[in-house]
Symmetry: D2
Subunit: 362 residues, 4 copies
């Protein structure tokens, strides 16, 4: 296990650098006979694609995915699915500035310290460009979920906080997320963000954000205690996304403030004879196993580290200097983390669905 | 990979139920020639041991660990170390109440739903009793860290919030954590908690908390991007602890509020020629790799679900009923999570230290 | 993955040394609701138990297994099953002879060279005593197979060659294996071996052997190409048994002599509408996936390295010396490898059955 | 773990079908700073390339490898290396014959039975074309070995038996393997094979073979007992190669015929103060750990299943029929298995070298 793969029965491995010829992934363990095409994957990639609004990086990448294996006559065959995306807009530029200096907040120093070498072009392997591979693998995971669970199963994400501005839960409308460039479920807050982020963008600054991902229609029973709890795997999955610094499930950090009485999601018998929970402080997971309630996960994304204000740093020779990062950037990298978070949720759930089927049957 | 193990080169697998004859773990991959004895492990188990104050469960367990393999002539041999702890105080009692009813907030319903059977005695496998095995394995991990990194390396934990009461960062004193029953680094706050928790305890209620774990003396370079980032593994490790609902690294959720300028940990050249960071918003991890700064992780623990106020629930036949949990409980299970969080931090770092040595050398 | 575990969804990890207090294993991933007791495991351990005839080691070990977890109300719960066997007959003796000298054919030198230390008492971790844990885990795997496949599924082993003497395929009678101390399926050959091994034993010598293990009633479709082919996993499983030097499936090495015409297992339609193969050169595996035919595996076991004739060797200081191994030994360690080979076959098939159910469903 | 990857710290995952657009692999865990280029990989691929003599398949594939990631400024960066080989000579033809019929000896029936679908074009995923990816990954593994062990380390293979004709050990000359189309180390035997295989080829038949792979210059201490013994991993690696039916280490099956006295590789003190073994029955592995002697592995390859004589079979509807396989075939697929066996040996050793460095250090 060398770090570039994730999952067990549904397992994917990614490869590629920001400015190499291509990036991609191999998705292994996909059940056979699931209809899938490049178009099915492309629709999800298009959501993450850069350059779609002024609030995200202006790098122009069509992010066209090619299926190189594992699909025959329009369906999966049970063999590994290799997906490749050619890099196109690796803008030729002078890397002199960042070649030898370490950009604060970026992984420049740690990659160099670990490996003794780093591909400094656009961040190399540590670039968020890698997340396109996650979204592609996530599209396959979504197919697995809908194939096995039907269309009731869904994984949706939203941006719920940008800097100090949080969405109003009362105004939450999932369909609204498709109507603004922020995946914001609340039209009013979206307007607020637009103005706020314009200011950030013009100042060459950046700001953090919080993403929420929710899976509905997930049956009770998924998760492999003790160490592969579904929430533990979600925490790992989300924390592995670039710039993520915190993850919470259900009540999350607010659970610290709750009494046992408040925290208890009481149960009643639903109309369908299944349990009906009166609240969802647990975020759909108890003891690491899904309860049948919506699985709710939030994560915090730090502000983009590339900003136009110079910051103090050192170079490879440990000489003190300063740096500012010109070029194409995301004023709020949290926006583009939404489809990535969705993808990771779909991947974790698909893997646990197969594992559950393996250990327990259905 | 069936869920009860954690780690790669340093890997441990736990087993055992709350009311079975014993619990334990097998720790595999420990480097040879490390001096270790049962006493070295016992000192850490004693910190987690129940019944040490009125603020935690009154179950009386000596938690005496036996080393069954892997140690010869007082040193590790490189072969698996089997550790066993006999259960002693499985109080004989009537389980009629919880045998068929699902306690809200507990894993009763989900284990039953997943497996079709559950060992309901004291929560069975989902009991926090399992965490004794983590602490034992963590003691071995600490030995690995000190053997390879020297005594400068340390992993320490503290309780930093109980309900609404947070410790003051200005009063932080690590040695204070050993002088109060809460692992509180701030004597004043400890007094406040004592009074607050007395009230909670007498009311038969419970409250959530936040734990912080810090590793000092960890060299730069540990972590295996992209998916086995050291922070991703910490997130998984902490989220896998019973009752944990949120994990953050460095600035954590507060990163959502920061600008890029504020978030950048600027670098200067230290006296020793190594980089000196002017802040630690990153929590010691950049791009999933340690930076040489202290590794800082916090996690939220929900309130104990076992409380004396009846809660609405259903039973196995989906008949509506209510339940209250009598017996020995923790008013704040977050207290005993401190040594468990420390153990998991030590385990994650030991595993990554060995992995780094394997892939990159030292 | 540190070397002491095997399997994926059905995974077991063993621990313990020949002369430590106990040996054992943790079996993880067992499906729930399978009836199992210590007696169900003991019957298989009794077959491997030492001291049952003059042809095997005279160490007296009752090999009584304790179930420490994972079973409740007589059935598996889906949580890890911890099995422990106390060592009893660690005969107190002077290890001066082997403490510093390396016994040729044993792992003395390599363990010392790898780890810098070794538990020299009875071979420590490298002793075949470890195989008792495999047999215990194999007993659990058999339960999984019969639970999911019914009683038609069976895994049986036989000794088919001792030195130059091979069993006659014409006289093969499975029930005969239970009537002689060699697991020999051919009564006549058993007599021959008895006389032959008497001579070997009296000479203080030893001899190699070949074991055959056959699984019947295994459905088509098990195996995870390309690298986790069922035959690849069998090869690993068998080669991991102490003293095994070769493994073959179906025609095995004889396949080198066959023409394509001879090697083709032609297919007809059976009475049940399933394919009927006219031969089984493939040994029940095609492309790494079971074909529904019997799975046939053979492996060679080298002669016991402990013999009464002195052999030249060196000690830890690289001083030349010689050594002879007194004490209790197996003149033909291949005999006791039969139940171990059966166990490993059952484990491989149980793991692949669960994996297949997970990836493909049933 | 879904079957298409192999290895732990050095881990590779392959993808691709015989008649898809491309095949390839992702090699993860390669240490940084190792000089490598496409040419370094190509030289090994060229050895396996089809169409190089009349004794192997006439499919024309240039097998040109592209490095898509993980290499920067001519050296490895520690990030995953993605290798791709475009398929070129997927001859357009009528697959009607094999589309619905199961070719005996091939994986047609089992893939169909497992997955319910198969890419029948040229065998799809089960085609030996996949082994090009192994050879590419093996080339990277060789670089790891030479980088860490120096040029003394080597992995070489030879064909040692074709049908009934074995090479003479007395005439063994490694350099001869480069001078005939069989990788035969004995010029005389090569002539014999040429004549013999001409007959086989003209008859449209095929024949089995035995390959031997030897690693020299491997230090003592590699291997992770108990289940990841270096010989167990070699057995798995070799058995996973298409058409392999048997694997042996050192004396292999002949060990069944040996007495303990004969089998003991006695030890003397060598000129360099290191042990000198007087024989190598063990094949360089004791207790699953390398001894410093050459690591010797042999495996049997069954005859190509595609032959020109009709064989009885059934189709998807279980209707009885017969089939013969026209087109381009290997009269002795064992020939092209030589570079594949070498690659797998290099991969197993590279993985264990990194694992050993991780667990024990160097």
């Amino acid at each position: 296990m060398s770090g570039n793969g994730f999952g067990h029965l549904f397992r994917f491995t990614t490869w590629g650098e920001s400015h190499g010829p291509a990036i991609g992934c191999v998705v292994d363990g996909v059940p056979p006979m699931i209809p899938i095409s490049e178009a099915d994957i492309q629709i999800w990639l298009d959501r993450r694609k850069p350059g779609q609004s002024k609030y995200v990086t202006q790098r122009k990448e069509p992010d066209e995915v090619e299926i190189l294996s594992g699909v025959f006559d329009g369906v999966t065959t049970g063999t590994p699915i290799s997906l490749m995306i050619r890099n196109q807009d690796q803008r030729s530029k002078d890397y002199g500035e960042i070649k030898d200096k370490f950009r604060p907040g970026h992984a420049d120093y740690t990659y160099w310290k670990k490996y003794g070498i780093r591909d400094y072009r656009g961040g190399g392997r540590s670039s968020a460009r890698e997340t396109a591979s996650r979204v592609a693998a996530g599209a396959v995971a979504r197919k697995v979920l809908s194939h096995l669970l039907g269309n009731a199963a869904s994984v949706r994400g939203a941006l719920v906080q940008v800097g100090p501005y949080k969405v109003s839960r009362d105004n939450w409308d999932w369909s609204e997320t498709e109507r603004n460039p922020f995946w914001c479920p609340d039209a009013k807050t979206a307007e607020q963000w637009a103005e706020y982020l314009d200011g950030i963008r013009k100042a060459g600054s950046s700001i953090g954000a919080v993403v929420e991902v929710v899976a509905d229609g997930i049956p009770a029973g998924l998760g492999a205690p003790i160490y592969d709890k579904v929430d533990a795997d979600l925490a790992k999955a989300m924390m592995s996304i670039n710039a993520v610094k915190a993850v919470e499930i259900g009540a999350g950090f607010e659970a610290a403030l709750l009494s046992g009485e408040e925290n208890a999601d009481e149960m009643r018998t639903g109309a369908d004879g299944e349990p009906e929970f009166l609240s969802n402080k647990a975020g759909g997971v108890l003891g690491g196993i899904t309860s049948g309630q919506p699985v709710v996960c939030r994560f915090a994304v730090k502000p983009t580290s590339s900003i136009l204000t110079p910051r103090q740093t050192v170079d490879k020779d440990m000489t003190e200097t300063e740096i500012l990062t010109k070029g194409r950037h995301d004023p709020c990298v949290g926006i583009r983390a939404v489809p990535v978070g969705e993808a990771m949720m779909a991947i974790v759930l698909a893997d646990h669905l197969l594992r559950h089927r393996g250990q327990v049957g259905v």
